[in-house]
């Protein structure tokens, strides 16, 4: 009970901060706040886009809860999404169109594997060499983001387009739209299924149970003969896989290509969503809804202004700040 009260308090604080910020910054505060709140529900287009954003956030956040539950910190989400997205786009361009739905699945599987692999490296390094996963995942991601930037802007660039992006993947591989003309596709189903199955695994299955024991108290895990190696590497793999899936879904459902910088902070948002949800994959769904609403609201309220990206970052920051400060006696193991 207390946790929900804390979360509510933190969200109220964040909302107050946002309102305050808009009051100072906007020439017409009431109007801006109004369109921020109502914007996403104004028409099917914005509403669909909000749900599309939410789908991606659900997957990122649900994946992140697994790391957090195991007491691990994956700071490489940006690189994992970006690389997986590029991998998905490249596979989509290489595969023959005739493969159809099988091709789509293949793209998703490969993208997921790419994300898992990148995060898994950090998990392995932590287990084998005690290299802090927070640092190693960030560094690897930092290197990859620039490398993918390079690939998109140079060898893989679609020279006919204006955007810095790869060529678009064939129609056959794209996910079916739900609310045209918005970006919402069946990705939403994948998102809900991912969150639900992770929650089921975490709370109803043996592996998830062992992971929670390991995350809350490693000594107790040793008491119960729970293998240390598995639960250092596996959570990173799962988180990475989710980020990878999110990356490919973005390509398959909204971008249709790997566009320069398309990750746009989803890596950080995954962390925020997981923290708001108190690391429960099911609660990630409402948390993602909340954050997607905010993001879409900002985009509509500030349309035409180049500030929406900065504004989202500020709000992300405020939310992270207010959420972590409630985590009295954080469950995270002490830093090595």
């Amino acid at each position: 009970m207390r946790r929900y009260r804390d979360t509510a308090a933190a969200l109220c604080a964040a909302a107050a901060a946002v309102v305050l910020l808009l009051t100072i910054l906007s020439p017409d505060p009431a109007g801006t706040i109004g369109s921020l709140i109502r914007g996403p529900f104004a028409n099917t287009y914005t509403f669909g886009n909000m749900l599309a954003t939410m789908s991606i956030l659900i997957i990122c956040g649900a994946g992140m809860t697994i790391s957090f539950q195991a007491g691990l910190f994956n700071l490489g989400g940006e690189g994992q999404i970006y690389s997986a997205g590029l991998a998905g786009a490249v596979i989509g361009l290489l595969l023959p169109v005739q493969t159809g739905i099988i091709g789509t699945l293949l793209i998703m599987i490969i993208g997921t594997a790419v994300g898992a692999l990148i995060a898994g490296v950090s998990g392995y390094l932590l287990y084998r060499f005690r290299i802090h996963e927070l640092i190693s995942s960030f560094l690897l991601s930092g290197a990859l983001v620039y490398f993918v930037d390079f690939l998109i802007s140079n060898p893989l660039r679609d020279t006919d387009g204006f955007l810095q992006s790869t060529r678009q993947i064939p129609q056959a591989f794209r996910l079916p739209s739900i609310l045209p003309p918005s970006n919402l596709t069946s990705a939403l189903f994948f998102a809900v299924i991912t969150a639900a199955s992770l929650a089921f695994w975490l709370y109803r299955m043996r592996g998830g149970y062992e992971l929670r024991v390991f995350g809350t108290n490693p000594s107790f895990a040793e008491f119960g003969a729970i293998p240390h190696k598995r639960y250092t590497i596996l959570p990173m793999l799962i988180t990475g896989a989710c980020y990878g899936l999110a990356g490919t879904l973005m390509v398959l459902s909204t971008q249709y290509a790997a566009i320069m910088g398309f990750t746009a902070g989803y890596g950080w948002n995954g962390i925020a969503v997981a923290l708001i949800a108190g690391n429960n994959p099911i609660l990630v769904i409402p948390a993602a809804f909340l954050l997607a609403w905010l993001e879409t609201g900002i985009r509509t309220a500030m349309s035409g202004s180049s500030l929406s990206f900065d504004m989202s970052n500020v709000i992300r920051g405020i939310i992270l700040l207010s959420i972590t400060l409630r985590l009295a006696g954080s469950r995270r193991r002490s830093m090595k």
């Binding site: 390094l125 060499f129 620039y146 950080w268």
Partner: protein
């Protein structure tokens, strides 16, 4: 060549020294990137208003120092996770500078400084190099020659032992955070003033590289210099290579991260092999 290496390396080195101080105090400040941005923006604001380099540098040092110590205090008081709050501050600060830039100067783009007595970039680099030299020598001296440095190291080595001997680790860490903010501020101020303008994302990852430098430098003060030098030589070489072989710049942007990652990996591998030999 010296100019470009120093111009790239000095801001990283300054921020890295700040980060290093927090690291050895037992709690690492990962918000260096955001603090550099604040320093850069503050320097622009004060310079535009007063045309005084001295005031610009001073203000640019103080504001991030206050923010840094403030967020550390908040984290301690409310039992937050310093990495999450650091991350939050890193997202918050660059965004805030952009919003403020629109609010005050009605522009979200480049803000140029137009004052009469602008120093040339070379002069400014000389000044900042001297400042960095002084900072480095002072930091070295404080850390290894004075009681203050001893307390800083001790608080990071064993918090409990420090408390029992009558010290307050929280106070030490707060001081370290303030100092890291101060140094990041200087670094940001230099970026703005030498460019004669404030540009969004002017720090372009220098704060993260500074963090990486701490690890690459093997958590030693002298190691920071090598790491910063290494980054700037790599950057210089990349620029040259780009010009010579017509290679795209973006290929090399991620280079420092990659190198640091590999460096960490190789170091850990050697360490573990050494330990394997030690075991019977």
């Amino acid at each position: 060549m010296t100019y470009s290496i120093l111009a790239y390396g000095i801001p990283i080195l300054l921020a890295a020294i700040g980060g290093y101080l927090t690291d050895i105090s037992g709690k690492m400040n990962i918000a260096l990137e955001g603090l550099i941005m604040v320093g850069a923006f503050t320097a622009y604001g004060v310079m535009a208003a007063t045309s005084s380099y001295l005031l610009a540098f001073t203000a640019a040092a103080l504001v991030p120092a206050l923010i840094s110590a403030g967020y550390e205090t908040l984290t301690t008081v409310y039992h937050g996770n310093i990495f999450v709050t650091g991350l939050a501050v890193n997202l918050l600060l660059p965004g805030l500078t952009a919003l403020l830039s629109v609010r005050i100067y009605a522009s979200s783009g480049v803000l140029s400084l137009q004052t009469d007595h602008m120093l040339s970039s070379v002069t400014l680099l000389q000044i900042i190099t001297v400042i960095t030299l002084i900072v480095f020598v002072t930091a070295y001296g404080i850390l290894h020659q004075t009681k203050a440095g001893l307390l800083l190291r001790a608080a990071g080595l064993n918090r409990r032992a420090f408390e029992i001997r009558g010290g307050s680790p929280d106070a030490v860490q707060r001081t370290a955070f303030a100092l890291s903010g101060l140094l990041c501020g200087l670094s940001g101020a230099y970026l703005t003033l030498s460019l004669h303008a404030f540009v969004p994302n002017i720090s372009s990852g220098k704060g993260w590289l500074a963090l990486a430098a701490i690890y690459l430098g093997d958590r030693r003060l002298s190691g920071l210099v090598y790491a910063a030098l290494f980054f700037s030589v790599a950057e210089y070489a990349a620029n040259r290579a780009q010009g010579l072989f017509d290679m795209p710049a973006s290929l090399f942007l991620g280079f420092p991260f990659l190198i640091t990652f590999l460096g960490l990996f190789v170091k850990a591998m050697f360490r573990s092999r050494r330990n394997d030999h030690k075991k019977p």
